[in-house]
C-alpha cells in the first residue's frame, strides 16, 4: 500500500504499480509501409508486438488479467477501434477496454492500466497501442475529422495544428528557423541509434533548413513522417513485479489534463495546460527540481518546435529560453538530462503507437534495455503525450527504478 499525498491535498490509498515489460513490433515494420513494400495486417502487427513485449517481460499471455487497446476512430479501417481484439487472448474471457483520446491514446491507456492495478482490480494489464497510420489512404482525411465540424473543419488540417504553435512561438520569443533545425538535428542524430526509428539517418542543420517548406515555419524535416509499427507495455502489481524483476521500475505518478474541443480557446503561446499538469505530476512524484530530479525524458515532438516549448513548460528552463537550453547540451545523449534519445515522434510517427512509445522508451531506459540508445544509468524518467484537436489533451507519467538516486 502506498499513501500518496499530493500538493492538491489529495490523499489516496493505492497499490504500487510497476512496469514489467515494454516492446514493439519487429524493427522492419517501423517504416513507411507504402514505399517499403513491408506490410503486416493489423492482426499480425499486434501479434508480433505483443509477443515481443511478453518476451521482454518474461511472462506468458496466461498471466495477463486485463487488456487495454488504444487507437483513434477511423484509423483501424472501421469505427470499432478494437478490431485486433483477437490478438489479446480474448478467448480466455478477460476484459478489454478501448481508449480513444487522439495523440494521447498511449498516455491515457497507460494511465488506465495504472488505475486498474492501483485500485486492486487486476494484477497484470497489457496495453496495446496500434500503429494506426497503416490503413488510411491519406491520414489527413481522418485527422480532419478531429476538428469541430461546423467551425474549424473547413479551415485547418493536421499540419496547421503544429504550425500555429510554432509560428506563435517564433513570433513571441524571437526563435529562429535555425533553432528549430538544431533541435531536429539532435533528434535525427539520436534516431540513428534506434532500430525502431523510421527516419534513422542523421541530417545536418543545413539539409534540414533546405528541406521543402510545408506550412510556415514547418519544413518537411521539422515535421514527422507517417510510419507503421505497434507498441505495447505490461504493467503489474507490486507482488507480480517482484516475482519477475530484480530492479523494479515503478510508476510514481501519472495524470492527464483536458482542454476544450473547440480550439478557439488556445492562444498558441506554449502549452499552459502542460505547465499545470507538470506541477501536479511533480507534486505527486515528489519532484522539486525537474532538471536535477529527472534523468531521462521522452516527449511528443511531431512538430519539432514542440520540444523547445516543452523544455519551458515542463519547468526545465524559463519561458522563451528553450533554444538556449538546447544549446547548453543538457538534453543531448551525454548531457545531464537526455531528451528523446529515440529520435522522438519527429523520426517515427507510428500513429497512436507513437504516443505509447514515449512511455515504452522511458521504461526501456530505466530497465537498461534501450540498446544503442541507452543513456548512462537513469533512475527517474518522464514520459509525455499530446493530442486530439489542437492539443486537447496532455498526459505525463513519472517512472523510477528502485534503488536509484
Amino acid at each position: 500500500m502506498a499513501f500518496l499525498f499530493s500538493e492538491r491535498g489529495r490523499v489516496s490509498v493505492a497499490r504500487n504499480v510497476g512496469v514489467v515489460g515494454a516492446g514493439y513490433s519487429d524493427p522492419e515494420t517501423f517504416t513507411d509501409f507504402r514505399e517499403a513494400g513491408v506490410t503486416r495486417s493489423k492482426e499480425e502487427l499486434a501479434y508480433s508486438t505483443i509477443t515481443n513485449t511478453l518476451e521482454n517481460a518474461d511472462v506468458d499471455m496466461s498471466a495477463i488479467d486485463a487488456t487495454i487497446f488504444t487507437t483513434v476512430d477511423g484509423f483501424e479501417a472501421t469505427n470499432r477501434i478494437e478490431r485486433t481484439i483477437d490478438m489479446f487472448g480474448q478467448s480466455r474471457n478477460i476484459p478489454l477496454i478501448s481508449i480513444n483520446t487522439g495523440g494521447t491514446g498511449g498516455g491515457s491507456a497507460f494511465k488506465a492500466a495504472y488505475e486498474q492495478i492501483a485500485a486492486g482490480q487486476y494484477d497484470m494489464v497489457l496495453v496495446y497501442a496500434s500503429g494506426s497510420f497503416d490503413s488510411a489512404v491519406e491520414g489527413q482525411q481522418i485527422m480532419n475529422t478531429a476538428a469541430p465540424p461546423l467551425y474549424e473543419k473547413p479551415i485547418i488540417s493536421a499540419i496547421h495544428m503544429g504550425a500555429l504553435y510554432a509560428s506563435k512561438y517564433m513570433d513571441v520569443h524571437d526563435v529562429t528557423e535555425e533553432d528549430l533545425a538544431l533541435t531536429a538535428a539532435k533528434n535525427y542524430e539520436s534516431a540513428s541509434n534506434n532500430p525502431w526509428a523510421h527516419r534513422d539517418k542523421p541530417y545536418s542543420v543545413e539539409e534540414i533548413m533546405n528541406s521543402e517548406m510545408v506550412a510556415w515555419p514547418l519544413r518537411r524535416l521539422l515535421t514527422c513522417p507517417v510510419s507503421s509499427g505497434g507498441g505495447a507495455m505490461i504493467l503489474a502489481s507490486e507482488e507480480k513485479v517482484r516475482e519477475s524483476m530484480d530492479e523494479p521500475v515503478w510508476v510514481d505518478a501519472t495524470e492527464s489534463i483536458t482542454n476544450t474541443f473547440l480550439s478557439g480557446y488556445r492562444t498558441y503561446e506554449n502549452f499552459p495546460r502542460l505547465e499545470t499538469l507538470a506541477e501536479r505530476v511533480y507534486g505527486d512524484a515528489g519532484i522539486d527540481n525537474p532538471e536535477s530530479d529527472i534523468d531521462y525524458v521522452e516527449t511528443f515532438n511531431p512538430y519539432i518546435a514542440f520540444e523547445l516549448m516543452q523544455y519551458e513548460d515542463l519547468g526545465f528552463c524559463e519561458s522563451g529560453e528553450g533554444p538556449e537550453y538546447l544549446r547548453s547540451g543538457i538534453t543531448e545523449a551525454d548531457g545531464d538530462v537526455p531528451w528523446n534519445m529515440s529520435g522522438g515522434v519527429l523520426c517515427t510517427n507510428s500513429g497512436i503507437c507513437a504516443s505509447l512509445s514515449r512511455h515504452i522508451e522511458v521504461a526501456l531506459q530505466l530497465m537498461g534495455d534501450a540498446g544503442d540508445r541507452q543513456v548512462d544509468d537513469p533512475g527517474v524518467g518522464l514520459a509525455h503525450s499530446w493530442g486530439s484537436n489542437l492539443g486537447q489533451f496532455h498526459t505525463l507519467a513519472v517512472m523510477s527504478r528502485e534503488g536509484a538516486n
Partner: protein, 154 residues
C-alpha cells in the same frame, strides 16, 4: 521489386452526417448570412464568446446575452501553407486564429487580400497581433465560409 498492389486491398466507407444546430450555432450562422458577427455573452462575468458558446467554461453557467461584435479582429497566430492537402485550398494560402474584439475564444479562418502572391512574401506580410477585418462572400448560406476570409486593415 514487389508489386505494391498485392500488399493492399482498397475500400471506402461512405458516411453522411446531419448535425443538429443548437440555439447558439443557429443564431451565429444566421448572423453570418446577414454579414453580422454575433457573440454570446455571460452577463455576470462579462465574458464574450465568438464562436458563441452555450455556457461559460469557467463557471459552467449558461451564457445569456447576444451582442453584435465590431467587425475587427486580431491575429493570434497564423501559418502559410506551401503544399496541397486534401480538402484544403490550393496553396499558397494563409490561415490562422483570429480573436474578434474582446472574445474569450478565437475563430479559425483564412487570411487573404494580401499584396504578396508568393508564399515567402506572405510570411513577411503577416504577423501575430495584426488587425484584420472580414471580407464577406456574395453568396451566403449560413456557414463559416460566408466570411470569405479576413484581411489586414489598411
Amino acid at each position: 521489386m514487389t508489386d505494391y498492389d498485392t500488399y493492399q486491398k482498397e475500400f471506402r466507407w461512405e458516411l453522411d452526417f446531419s448535425l443538429n444546430l443548437g440555439d447558439a450555432d443557429r443564431k451565429f450562422f444566421e448572423g453570418l448570412q446577414e454579414k453580422r458577427i454575433l457573440g454570446k455573452k455571460h452577463t455576470d462575468s462579462g465574458r464574450v464568446f465568438v464562436p458563441p458558446q452555450p455556457y461559460d467554461d469557467r463557471t459552467f453557467t449558461a451564457t445569456d446575452e447576444w451582442v453584435e461584435m465590431e467587425q475587427k479582429g486580431v491575429i493570434e497566430s497564423y501559418t502559410v501553407t506551401f503544399r496541397q492537402f486534401r480538402n484544403m485550398p490550393e496553396p499558397p494560402y494563409v490561415n490562422g486564429a483570429i480573436r474578434i474584439g474582446d472574445s474569450e475564444t478565437c475563430l479559425l479562418h483564412f487570411i487573404g487580400g494580401l499584396d504578396a502572391d508568393d508564399p515567402e512574401a506572405m510570411i513577411e506580410e503577416i504577423s501575430s497581433g495584426m488587425t484584420v477585418e472580414p471580407v464577406w462572400s456574395d453568396e451566403r448560406d449560413g456557414d463559416i465560409l460566408d466570411i470569405k476570409h479576413f484581411e489586414p486593415v489598411e
